[in-house]
Assembly symmetry: C2
DNA sequence: CGATAGTTTGATATCCTTCAAAACCTGTGG
DNA sequence: CCACAGGTTTTGAAGGATATCAAACTATCG
């Protein structure tokens, strides 16, 4: 089985055999987390970089009055804060959404690889810059779009990102997110997310099975979402 | 007069004489822009990195139906997309808000400095990571806070950032932004921004002179804004 | 089988938008 | 130096999108 980090970064560059060996050698220490646990909390100064191997996680922040904003989703192959040693202290938390497996890469190993393998270093920076681009699009989403478009846009993005790492079982697309997580992501309330999802269902764009959202008509979603995937900076090959 | 880039990056690290010389030598080609012009447009593949020396600029994105979301403000000392050569193509535009002066640094010079001066390279990455942290906080702001807190939060941030680069004329704090720009920043309408600013004025927190917002009570603003400056990753010395 | 978490429903409140027009400022050209 | 144009701020009224509160329903799991 291919290293999920390699699979992800390969959509940016082509690695040498030596690079590939190194990418594998980094993934020694495996850890398991249960749904709901935090990988990292605000204020932490972690000495490991986490690579998500199985399951989903999210970045989030809490406000003083107890509201939560989800800032990003992490799917297998995504790294948590490769460059935390530059910023010193976490300004947000990272929590695991369902039972998950991660690889912990010691900070020093990371630093070393960045120095000795410029190809890998650049690919890691690419991933960081794409994360930032996604964040920008989320701000547009929450700031400017109505509830229906907002949810549709999120689904389009997840669909493409999962596809990028081969996690789209023959077009079937299951989002393991609760409506309250979707609410915290889009800046809406649970109740309103529920209403809005029903609209999407009535239009035949999605349906739900076992509490999972199934996307039926990705083209239709794209249309109402005003979705332009350029911000994901995917390989045109794909 | 001190190089504004140096002043900004100095709040992350201390530079050697050689570093400082290099930072100065990068700033050769000066360009002037008029209010409203775009420095860079979506889809561009710029071959220069711009350093803002005078005036304000903003990153922004337009939606299909003509709405605009402002994604970040750039003030003197801020760089536009140091690492664009990694991402290849701009996924957003950068426009100048008032008459501004920039320094254009050729891509190759940038690349070179990154290779030969690891200290500067790391400082530039620091700036990029802080930009990302700001973006996260903006998402929290737009997603979770009510209009009053949202505007107050933005003002608190700008106040601190200007202070960091010594642009706070003895506590006087003039924001050269129109209400419609504030609206595009916060995801509100112009009308509602106007109402909200009046609330802040009634409470004596801010006032307006010549279309500029003057902050009177930064502590008061912080309180209603739920403002925690940790995300700016400022030097604790400051 | 009960406990717990997630989904759905309904009714009401409110925040914010939309549309429209007046007032105000600033710069420009006659 | 005044008049006018264009952008900005302000005001008002009305509607809509989303929030809030509360409770019923449903699925899952030990």
């Amino acid at each position: 089985m291919i290293n999920p980090l390699t699979r992800k970064l390969s959509s940016f560059t082509t690695f040498s055999a030596d690079d590939l060996a190194h990418l594998n050698s980094m993934c020694q220490k495996v850890l398991d987390f249960r749904a709901g646990q935090d990988l990292i909390q605000e204020g932490d100064r972690p000495d490991h970089v986490f690579l998500l191997v199985r399951g989903w996680a999210c970045r989030y922040k809490l406000t003083a009055d107890g509201r939560r904003q989800i800032l990003a989703y992490l799917i297998p192959g995504d790294l948590c804060d490769v460059h935390i040693f530059i910023l010193k202290e976490m300004d947000h938390a990272i929590g695991v959404l369902n039972d998950a497996r991660v690889v912990a890469i010691p900070k020093d190993v990371m630093r070393d690889v960045m120095r000795t393998h410029p190809n890998i270093a650049e690919a890691l920076w690419w991933a960081t810059l794409v994360d930032e681009a996604v964040l920008r699009e989320w701000l547009v989403n929450v700031g400017q779009r109505k509830a229906v478009a907002r949810l549709a846009h999120l689904l389009c993005e997840l669909w493409l990102r999962l596809k990028q790492v081969d996690m789209l079982g023959n077009g079937e697309f299951c989002v393991p997110l609760t409506q309250s997580q979707l609410a915290d992501t889009t800046g809406l309330t649970t109740v309103h997310v529920n209403h809005t999802l029903q609209q999407l269902r009535k239009q035949g764009l999605v349906s739900m099975q076992e509490r999972k959202i199934i996307v039926h008509d990705i083209a239709g979603l794209r249309e109402i979402a005003d979705f332009n995937p350029n911000y994901l900076h995917l390989d045109p090959r794909t």
